[in-house]
Amino acid sequence: MVQSPRSLSSQAPYLTVSVTDPAKMGNGVQAYISYKVITKTNFPEYQGPEKIVIRRYSDFVWLRDRLFENYKGIFIPPLPEKSTVEKFRFSAEFIEMRRQALDVFVNRIASHHELRQSEDLKTFLLEDEQTMERSRSQETGIFKKKPADIMQIFKDVQSKVSDVVLGKEKPVEESNPEYEKQKNYIFQLEDHLAEAQKHAYRLVKRHRELGQSLSDFGKAVKLLGNCEGNSLGKAFSELGAKSEMLSIKLQREAHHLLMNFEEPLKDYVRAVQSIKATIAERANAFRHHCELAETIKFKEIDLNKLRLTRSEKLAEAEREYEQLKADGEELKMKFETIVKLMNEEIARFQEQKTIDMGVAFHELAKGQAQLAKSMAEAWRSLLPKLEACSS
């Protein structure tokens, strides 16, 4: 998954991470899952080819928040959600899904040409647990941002952005029709994807239900076979046995679908939500930039007034004015960086998504084809035995 950029070094630089070995730590309410994070790299600043650290979910959240702060304009890879249902939190399936999503998360960062250079990433991958914990609590202290809060901010901004898009507010917005189109696309895409993901999840459930039903059916048929006796009874028993076997295959396919089709779809939805957060950031940056531009204008007027009256405050005012202008330049640059980055990111995003979805579709098709084939084979294998009965 590591893209090799054009490099002058003798060996292409690589950075791969795996998130493995989930383990339950602690007891009761305070219990949580820890993961082993293994980094393999030849980056010089990483001091060593391999490093293993222990991390928990909130560490990943910290990393995401830091990147979001420092790399505005870039679509930060999404994190799996916090579990809302208590009893589900430690189910094997949930843990596996989360582990997979976290693995994908870190690797995406590690393969992004800008994000991979982040200091915070280095901290996350290399520091010992105590240092990590300290950094984490510092951040939450200063920024007071918890995942729930961030979501709320997103939502606020999202509604603000859509208000702006819909022309409800007095706009402090870019008048960029192409960008408008892109924003619209993102919002509608999310709706479509959410629906597809919903049905994908239901499909997983259906597989499980059908599996259970087939198993019950098999058992009942076997009992009937026992009752009948002779060759007919044997035929029934065989049918029952095949049904039970197929039931197991269905359960397996349900799991396979969940991990290889539904999760990627959910990931896609999350990615789109992450883009929305970036859109909100861009709108923020634009607003700040405009507001400051306004402020500068007023300052200029003030300055001219002071010039006319030859006030002693003039020198100070001029200094302030220069400062404001410098700030203004900075904000403008920030905004323009975001715009540039976003344009690159969108293209990259589309490409990546096409590949991800292509893989997911392949898995879906493969899984379904294999399942159907096993079923056909199982049923067909019964026919010679049924034949034998009637002769």
Partner: protein
Amino acid sequence: MMGYENQGFEEAHLYASKEEMASLVLNEDPSPPSNGSKSFPHDPLSSSPPFVEIPTDDTDPLHPPSANQVLPSHSSINSILEPPSYADAIFRSFDSDYVASPEVNSQDQSLSALPSFSSDYIKICVSDPQKEQEQSGSLVPGGSYYFTYLITTFTNLPEFNGAEFNVRRRFRDVVTLSDRISESYRGYFIPIRPDKSVVESQVMQQNEFVEQRRIALEKYLGRLAVHPVLKRSEELRVFLTVSGKMPLARTTDVASRMLDGAVRLPKQLFGGESVVGGAAEVSEVALPAKGGRDLLRIFRELKQSVVNDWGATKPPVIEEDKEFLEKKEKLQDLEQQISNVSQQAESLVKNHHDMGETMGQLGLAFVKLTKFESEEAIYDSQKACAADMKNVATAAVKASRLYRELNAQTVKHLEKLHEYLGVMLAVNNAFSDRTSALLTVQTLKSELSSLNSRIEKLEAASSKIFGGDRSRIRKIEELRETVRVTEEAKNCAVREYERIKENNKNELERLDKERQDDFLSMLKGFVVNQAGYAEKMANTWETVAEETSGYVK
């Protein structure tokens, strides 16, 4: 989210309903579109097509099932059982042929009993329900009404004296027919008649109710028509052939029926070949009228005394036939298992249905996504993504349709199970007949022994008196007379019991054989169906897997 014009996906609307999904014409799909409502036409023997559609060799009810059970390859099966051109010819290759065989059986449970009845043929159709006014001077102004049905019979049985009959009957007549057959054919596994369903008739739409009843009647009469003994009953013949008001009386007195029945037995059994207890019964014809009346009186009194002594509950019957008891238990177990499987099968069908639905919804969601992506596509990657999505969507919708059709077939196959639950009811009734006949015998025996002991006592008392005791002697004579008549009644009851036992035995043999054949063919049909559809689904998805294999290196 407006503006989804039909571009490349005919009929894919935003909130497509099931019907729309069914009618979704997918570009790659070469087969004719299904209309979604009925994937497989009903039994060629069913009545809705006009009568002239007398089945050809593939649907001849007497055609031995051996052809159906040969499984070399689908094509040869095709040639044997080529169905007429039904709407959905898509899945002819396997399931329709197999469905044809259980379909044929659904009206013809004794298909396998054929060898001895190769020339018998009765086909009964029920059609043309019509509303008629209640004639009798009812107190309700305007009068109530009822429905009559046209019953058409095609037959070549000699006792019918004709090839085709048309009569009009109402449901009440069917109830009468059923009651009369139950009286005359005790010990046989008599098909259960359709319910009176009073509640349903109020609740359902009239059209639906009448149609439901029409189908039920046809099925019921069909079952009677294939029962090797019942198909030759007078009651059925009269029901099917005599126009105007049905001449069968509601019921005959049990006692006289026993006499009548005894006389007519020889004709009723197996075309007169074997006579079970028939020879003995012929002598009953010679019974003097007085004897007949006395018998009547005995039975009435017997019935009364049973009621008096035991109230509402039935006295315990001492069944000594161990073999019978074993068989009975086994059948009860069988009934339980069939019921279980039937329930699980229903649940299985429901789950398949849900799976199909969700698959279809997933497909639709991707259809919408594809349209969306195609419209908004700026990057090439988007266009590629849209193309992949379209393939998946197409496959999903196709799979959904396949599930639906699979289910419709499965339901038909598993209907056989339901049928046999009905047969089990009939078996229970036949066993009840036996039990109550045994009860009659035992009651009469105990009556006889108590009469005899009274006589003994009287004789003992009388002998002590010199010259005899006139009143006692008279009493003894009266009792002796009663004993004689009771003895006759007992003999009659014993013969009846033996007759019923024999009926039970024959029917059990028939049941076992037919059940084997029916279940076997049901299994085959089910299995072939499942396999066929699974193969179709595998193909559909394999195509998509190949198309997307480039993403996985």
